[in-house]
Amino acid sequence: MDATAAKLIGAGLAAIGAGMAAIGVGNVFGSFLESALRNPGAADGQQGRLFIGFAAAELLGLLSFVVAMILIFVA
């Protein structure tokens, strides 16, 4: 296979990671909302943890974006 073609296919495959991170971020906010509706009183106190979970899930998706960018523009 042509090296450029392999790079672009790899960058496309890295987009799977971004999609998976989307599932992860949705999961974080979805679970938070679900439990916040069950116990609205405790919801505000957990907002910090919500964003920590969001940041952790998001970082992994951003890493796959970095991989794609490196494949396209750097490698």
């Binding site: 964003f51 940041a55 890493l63 523009f73």
Partner: protein
Amino acid sequence: MAAEQGSVDPMHQFKIEPLFGTDHLSLFGHNIAFTNSSLWMLITTVAITVFVAGGMKRQLVPGRWQMAVESMTGFIDNLLAANVGPAGKKYVPYIFSLFMFILFANLLGLLPLALVGVHPFTFTSHFSVTGVLAILSFAIVLIVGFARHGLHFFSLFVPHGTPVWLLWLIPFIELISFLVRPFSLALRLFVAMMAGHVLLEVLSSFVITSANSGVLWGSVVGIPSFLLMIAICALEFLVAGIQAYVFALLTSLYLNDAENLH
């Protein structure tokens, strides 16, 4: 070939250019040219200074402006009180500056000033800038940790209740997760800002290229892309706020580790 000319280079917006003929300005052999990055850092600093100075009137009944500034400082105050406790009070100036600097930088970079010929430069989309901010946070954590706890700070790597038979593994994992912190902190902000701007640029190239190739493609591809751009712009404002918040939040969590250990 016509499509090639009409396409937009999504990476051009991140180019750093020396301004005002300072290309070869150097100090101790390093180039210290005044670039568009420095210019927008300066603009950000001036904007924050104006914003905060406008709210320093210390009226008993605050006006709108004072209320805006006080809600910002109160927000950071609450953040530190919730995450670090009473010991977090002394970090309010640092976290506030960090939060406001990143927030203003992200928001100023999103301004549609290109319509009047000025190209806003989002300097938080550069790893060197976010990296320095992250190293600053990490250095403060290390200094505070070692100054307060001395070598006892290393107990951070052995969480409470670690089973004895795992003592060979857990400190190693904790050490790696500790050392990765500045990278993840810097990478998150830089990639989130860069990804958003690249996405907007790619969508705009869709709009331009499809509009150039006729009414049919312009209406099938161009108009939906343009509507998507508007939605992504709204999302970018959200991301600008969230990333600044996450940076401040994670820094305060790391400061909590340094102040209170586990």
